[in-house]
Structure formats: C-alpha cells, structure tokens
C-alpha cells in the first residue's frame, strides 16, 4: 500500500484548520485558545506572582512553571486518567523549555509565571497546540518577551513528507512513520522544541524542517492576529 493522499484531502504541506483567540479566561492575567483541527488547547497565565515553595525561588530571575493537562474526556473515547502522569510531566517540561528562550524574566526575581494548559479535545499534535496557546497567553499577559513561539508537528508517512499529522497518520500501519513536533521562535528561526517518534532519513528530515518553517510562519500570523484582535477598537456600543 502506498500513501498517496491524505484522508481529508489535505495537501501534504497544509495544516488543519486553525482557530485562535485571546482573553478567553477573564480571571487570568492572560489567556488564549488555540485550535488546530480537532485538537484544542486553552492556556491561562497567572503572574508574575509570589513563588512557593520557597526553595524553588531564584534570586537572579523569575521562573516559568508550565502544566500540561489533557481533560479526562479529551481522547478518542477512552477516558484519560486525570492527574499527573509520566507523559504529562514530560510535555510540561518540554513546553517550559520551548517557551523559555523568548521570555525575559530578569525583572522578576524570586517570582513565578504560571502557565496552565488544558486540552478539552485532542487528536494528535497536542503539545504543539499547547505551546502555541501558551505563547499567545504569555503575550496577552504582558510578560516581557523577545518574540513569539509557534509550533507544529512535521513528519513522514511512508515516503511522503507532511505537516501537522492527525491521529490516523500518526498510527498509519502501511509503512514507516515519523512524528516530529517542532517549535520555532519566529523572530530568530531558532528551534526550541524537537522531539521524534519513529524513523526518518537525514535527507527527509531536513525537507520536513523546511516545510515546518513555512507552516510555523502561517501559525505565527494567526497568533499575531488573535492577540491584536482583542484590542481592536470597535464601535462604541
């Protein structure tokens, strides 16, 4: 079996439908919603605020604390067991590291910026959606930043290179698959997240990266628009 075309007639370099919004959680200092296809993520930012337990405090600069969580009903019918798991701990950690290069927290010694990412619905690419939402929420919260982070998954299914894999592609059984979530700092082009599941050749990998860069630029535009839309001066109601 040869993988010729994607199930939902998407182009190989075409991401799923993107929807982005900011200011969705009123109580938070900053918040955002990011949806790509059937994967949706909410991010809420609180802080900079007091950090406890005290031993975590860093007197040189503020720290970032991320929490990634899939809601129990978010998967494909099987209930996700609530609470921390090995997987969510790992994703929380990589999210934190993906966002840190753009943050400028030296003005907040001993304080913390908390980012909570909740996913009400997931269908592959959840860590990327989480990072996109978190980046928007941080900008919305007025945290000093050097730029924005956009993330997407790239990879290969059989002999095709594609972006934004969905669940059917991730679990394709007719040939080799690679799922590579990447996060890119838009301003510098730096990669701040790079993980891989599967196998891929060196040649294919660099092609996949090129594709990923293009799609990340597209996602950046959506993020930018979403942040600006919140402050659009509308008609005086």
């Amino acid at each position: 079996m040869v993988y010729k075309e994607r199930l939902n007639k998407r182009g190989f370099d075409e991401p799923r439908k993107i929807e982005a919004k900011t200011g969705v959680i009123k109580k938070a200092d900053g918040s955002a919603y990011f949806r790509i296809g059937n994967t949706a993520a909410y991010a809420a930012v609180y802080g900079p605020r007091d950090l406890y337990p005290k031993f975590l405090q860093n007197p040189k600069e503020g720290i970032l604390r991320c929490k990634y969580n899939m809601m129990p009903f978010s998967g494909r019918g099987e209930r996700v067991r609530p609470g921390p798991s090995r997987r969510s701990r790992e994703i929380s950690l990589v999210t934190e590291r993906a966002l840190l290069p753009v943050l400028n927290l030296e003005d907040f010694p001993n304080a913390v910026v908390d980012v909570f990412i909740e996913l009400p619905q997931t269908e592959a690419g959840s860590r990327c959606a989480g990072i996109c939402a978190a980046s928007m929420a941080l900008a919305d919260a007025g945290i000093p930043m050097k730029g924005m982070v956009s993330a997407v998954s790239v990879g290969r299914v059989d002999d095709k290179i594609l972006v934004d894999l969905d669940y059917t592609e991730e679990s394709y059984e007719g040939g080799p698959v690679a799922d590579i979530p990447i996060a890119i700092v838009h301003e510098t082009g730096q990669f701040s997240l790079l993980q891989m599941d599967g196998c891929i050749t060196k040649d294919m990998l660099s092609k996949a990266f090129e594709l990923g860069k293009k799609v990340c630029a597209k996602i950046y535009e959506a993020q930018k628009q979403a942040i600006k839309d919140r402050y659009k001066i509308g008609d005086d109601k």
Partner: protein, 228 residues
C-alpha cells in the same frame, strides 16, 4: 535610510518590528535587535521624537518608587507590618514609617494595624531584588476605615485618574464619595451605599471604555443623566 513599520498607537506584539534603521531609539518596553527596533511587550506604540516606547495594555503592577498604593496588612513582624500591594512582591511598612508614636519593645502592634486592615502608603524604596519599603508619613496617607475596595487593571489607572485628576475629581463631585486610586490598581471608595454603587459602576465603565477618546465628557453625561 530609516523607516517606520508600525504607526503611532498601533497594537504590537512581542518581537514585532516597529522601525528599521538607526534613526530611532528604543524606549521603555522596546529594544534594538541589530538594525531593527522591536517591541518587548504587547502594547501601543508611542513615538516621541526619535524615541519609540510601548505602552503596555496588560500586565500586573510592578512596584515603583514614589507610587501611592493601597495595601492590605497580611502579616506582623518584629519591626513592622507586611503588606500585600496587589503585585508579585509584598511591601514592608516599618514601625518608624507608620507612626510618630513611641512604641516600646514588644508592644502589641495590632493596636495600630491588624491583619486584614487596608492602608494607603507611599513606596519609598524598591531594591533590585524587589524588596519594597513603604511609608505612611505624608498627606493623605493612613489607615482606611469603612468604605469598599475595588480592584481594577493597573494599566487602566491613569485613565481612571484622568489628566491632573480630572476624571476622579468628576466622580468624587458627582457621587459625593471619597475616592482614593492607588497606582497598584486598588481603589478605595467611601460614601453612602447608593453613592458607592454608583461610583463602582462608573469606574467599571471607564475601565471597559478606556480606549475611547473624550471619555471624560461621556462619563459626565452618564453621571448627570442617572442622578435622579
């Protein structure tokens, strides 16, 4: 050749290029990145001659020297009181700065301020590690009795105060309330219950419509039509 990419009063996001070339200088919340001037926070562009700065549209209060803030007593130490000033950092009010009374060693400090009391203070010092010292010596500073505390977004504070206090004076006059606006986004209002509600409603309205030009006139109209 320098060129401006964002216009004055445009909303920019972190990392967005505001201007290219060396003719412009970065101000508050902006920085130079090679040839370009980029924004470091989400906010409005303000160009003042050659200097470009960003007026933040969101964010928590950061303590600044000489700011008048409203704080809540959260703890009592040996030498004074610890205050929550609606920020990432707490402030310290020492005995010496709180009162001119002679306080004997080991005296009960709750007779001056107890936990949960609200006070108006002025920030005297902020260190690099964000240790904040406040004082209560000065006109208009002291303990708050009665009334209510309202929390607004710190970046809306200048709008609520208005030019030379025009907005807050207008509300004071029309609602017969005593109002103190702290730079940290806490507002104290005291008057008859009905007047207080009126003032709260007005301040909420200002917060919501902060971006509209000529807001003072609109608020004046609002307060006058709803007077009866």
């Amino acid at each position: 050749m320098s060129e401006l990419i964002a216009k004055e009063r445009d909303v920019v996001i972190p990392g967005e290029i505001i201007a290219k070339g060396m003719d412009y200088l970065p101000g508050i919340n902006a920085s130079r990145q090679g040839e370009n001037i980029i924004a470091n926070r989400t906010g409005l562009v303000e160009i003042n001659g050659r200097v470009i700065k960003i007026i933040p549209l969101s964010g928590r209060y950061m303590p600044k020297e000489k700011d008048r803030v409203i704080g809540k007593i959260i703890d009592i130490n040996l030498g004074g009181w610890r205050l929550d000033i609606n920020s990432a950092y707490t402030a310290m009010l020492s005995m010496k700065e709180a009162t001119s009374d002679f306080i004997t060693k080991g005296a009960d400090l709750t007779q001056y301020f107890d936990i949960g009391d609200y006070v108006i203070t002025r920030i005297t010092q902020v260190t690099s590690q964000k240790l904040v010292d406040v004082s209560m010596k000065g006109p208009g500073l002291g303990k708050l009795k009665n009334g209510r505390i309202l929390s607004i977004k710190p970046n809306k504070v200048p709008r609520v105060i208005g030019k030379q206090g025009s907005m807050v004076n207008l509300i004071k006059e029309k609602t017969n309330c005593k109002i103190v606006v702290g730079q940290n986004g806490l507002v104290w209002i005291q008057g008859s219950p009905k007047d207080e509600l009126k003032a709260v409603e007005t301040i909420r309205m200002i917060e919501e419509k902060a971006h509209i030009p000529g807001l003072t006139d609109k608020i004046k109209e609002f307060l006058e039509t709803n007077k009866q």
